[in-house]
């Protein structure tokens, strides 16, 4: 049903692009001077996906919130409200106050900084390591491929979160440790995926042609293979943003993430746990923030995957 609709619109748009009253020569010229770039195609597909657009707008607002957090928060996140510990949500304190009388709403706002920055930096790390190893493995093949992939297998065998908290705890918990440790323990899936994509693209004729005319390997990788795997890399990175945020808040929840007084959503949940029986707002709102953020990133990631490849080449 939904597909039929999409096809219909696509046909209409295709019809619009072909001018009816012009000569064939002029038509050809138009087509050749204005080819639709992949970015345009993806954007056109993405715009039609309402859920993905909603997720995208939410993500955009989140980044803006994080950027302007100190200005948006009604109170300083460390400010005390004397004599008002554990007050329920009110017009004055939208999400109530915590045991130390601080405004929970302000802390949730400022907490977005931790989650989004950890997400961004650790995903950059994951992608740097994953793409490099996957690309080398897929392109070079042979013994290097074998060694890298077996190492990946071993890393995957150690339960991810256990590895993560071991590393986070042993290397003194902090925001920076969290970013680095998530990056160093989460690249394996990306490496496998990129390797597979490189193997697929490497087997295509244009790579053979490039080789035949003597293009050096480094140039083949950068100019031919990487651009052709970009779609997969972007989708994978978006989905990892949400997963990295889940990992970060999990670490913070166990007390192994960003340390006080820096407010993080996971840390706020851990603090609020103590008073859960009489102050539900401390555990409900920060958790809701994590949930909605992860959901929004997932919507964008799924939307991007469909937009890059409406036929869904990969299952």
């Amino acid at each position: 049903m939904a597909n039929a609709q999409v096809d219909e619109t696509r046909r209409e748009q295709a019809a619009e692009r072909i001018p009816s009253s012009t000569s064939p020569a002029r038509h050809l010229q138009q087509v050749s001077t204005k080819p639709e770039s992949q970015v345009q195609i993806v954007w056109r597909n993405l715009r039609r996906n309402r859920l993905a657009m909603a997720g995208g707008i939410f993500v955009l607002l989140l980044y803006l919130t994080a950027l302007f957090a100190p200005a948006l928060a009604p109170q300083d996140y460390t400010a005390f409200n004397r004599g008002q510990p554990l007050k329920p949500p009110s017009s004055e304190h939208w999400f109530g106050t915590d045991r130390q009388t601080r405004d929970v709403f302000s802390r949730v706002i400022v907490g977005s900084r931790v989650s989004l920055s950890v997400g961004f930096i650790s995903v950059t790390l994951i992608m740097l390591i994953g793409v490099t190893l996957g690309a080398l493995s897929g392109f070079l093949g042979g013994i290097i491929d074998n060694l890298v992939m077996r190492f990946t297998d071993i890393m995957l065998a150690i339960p991810g979160f256990f590895l993560l908290i071991t590393a986070a705890a042993l290397f003194t918990p902090s925001l920076r440790t969290t970013m680095i440790v998530i990056g160093l323990t989460s690249w394996m899936g990306a490496a496998r995926l990129i390797r597979g994509e490189f193997l697929r693209v490497k087997a295509q004729d244009f790579v053979l042609a490039a080789r035949a005319i003597g293009v050096p390997n480094s140039r083949i990788i950068i100019r031919h293979l990487l651009p052709n795997t970009m779609a997969v890399i972007i989708v994978e990175a978006t989905l990892w943003l949400s997963y990295a945020i889940l990992l970060e808040s999990g670490l913070a929840f166990l007390g192994l993430g960003a340390q006080p007084p820096t407010p993080s959503w996971g840390g706020m949940l851990a603090d609020g746990r103590v008073d859960m029986q009489n102050a539900w707002w401390q555990t409900v709102f920060p958790g809701l923030a994590i949930f909605l953020t992860v959901l929004a990133f997932n919507l964008v990631g799924d939307g991007l995957r469909d937009a890059f490849d409406p036929r869904q080449r990969r299952r």
């Binding site: 065998a157 590393a167 042993l170 555990t283 799924d302």
Partner: protein
């Protein structure tokens, strides 16, 4: 079963040996690269006298070069000697693990069974009635389930079912209870472990069914006049469920990882909680043993899953 399946199985099992050695090296290096001083963890009860610390270091073999330490450790591990814990009343590590392993396995088995029983029928119905209300609810629910942080879900369940409604016990495994009362302690932690897995299973089962539905042999089965029921159960389901073996296998590391948070939140006396406490106390022998044993278990299970999959699906080539 193809002709080469015997050699395939043998090769997969042989490959386990270098993987296990690699695993032991990775685990050992990660833990010993970290800046903390295990001698401090061990000696925490004594005065922080440098002489005592040096003595402790010598006794634990921490003064020797890393490769030597690794060799000594590996030779013990090969005989299943994991030494004594630095903390936990200096109990032998193997006893600490032995006392708790059953609690973790029971909880995880329950979660996995729950996930399979709920998700596979839902996935099948979703695929059979694509775009129906039930399909939309199931796929939408699965999407939400994937974004749900397990520790938050655990807290919300405790808040609702234990604190507000008082239907279920809030935490622990209910020592000294039996029967239905004992089971009530299992429900919340098992549900929290199961939710993300249910989400993954529903999505996979649904797409697997839809994929098989497109195959020519399904069209043939319909064309020769088989009832829709027979087509679904005898032709589609039989083929669609085979890849689920792999998907279930892939969830094992996730389950073990999830156990750390779930067991910590629910004060569940299993391996996940043990691991968390050991990490906080820098109890190296316990951390080493736990990472090595769970890692080895997952490596073995990977091979088992691959072999089962190869035996179930005759299309797999052994090359």
């Amino acid at each position: 079963m193809a002709a080469g399946s015997g050699t395939y199985i043998a090769r997969r099992i042989l490959l386990l040996v270098p993987l296990m050695i690699g695993l032991s090296m990775v685990v050992f290096v990660i833990i010993h690269l970290s800046p903390g001083d295990p001698a401090l963890a061990f000696a925490s009860e004594q005065a922080l006298d440098p002489q005592v610390l040096a003595q402790v270091r010598e006794n634990l073999g921490l003064d020797k070069p890393l490769p030597v330490q690794y060799g000594i450790w590996l030779s013990h591990v090969a005989r299943f000697e994991f030494g004594t814990a630095y903390t936990f009343n200096r109990k032998p590590v193997i006893n600490l693990i032995g006392e708790r392993v059953l609690m973790s396995v029971q909880l995880q088995a329950l979660a996995l069974v729950m996930a399979v029983l709920i998700a596979i029928p839902l996935g099948i119905i979703s695929a059979k009635r694509q775009y129906s209300l039930l399909d939309n609810l199931a796929t939408g629910g699965a999407f939400l389930g994937l974004a749900l942080p397990d520790f938050w879900l655990a807290l919300m369940l405790q808040l609702l079912l234990a604190v507000q409604l008082g239907w279920l016990p809030a935490s622990t495994s209910g020592p000294g209870t039996a029967g239905l009362e004992k089971l009530s302690y299992f429900i919340m932690p098992a549900v929290v472990l199961a939710v993300p897995i249910i989400a993954i299973f529903i999505r996979f089962m649904r797409s697997s069914m839809l994929e098989v539905n497109k195959q020519d042999y399904v069209t043939t089965a319909r064309a020769k006049g088989l009832s829709e029921r027979a087509v679904t159960y005898r032709h589609i389901l039989k083929n669609a469920i085979v890849p689920m073996v792999t998907v279930i296998g892939i969830q094992l590391p996730r389950l073990v990882s999830g156990a750390v948070i779930v067991e910590t939140v629910f004060a569940w006396p299993g391996l996940g909680w043990l691991g968390y406490q050991a990490i906080l106390q820098r109890d190296y022998p316990v951390i080493l043993a736990l990472s090595l044993l769970t890692g080895a278990f997952i490596l073995v299970m990977n091979v088992v899953v691959d072999i089962v999959y190869a035996l179930l699906d005759p299309r797999i080539r052994f090359d």
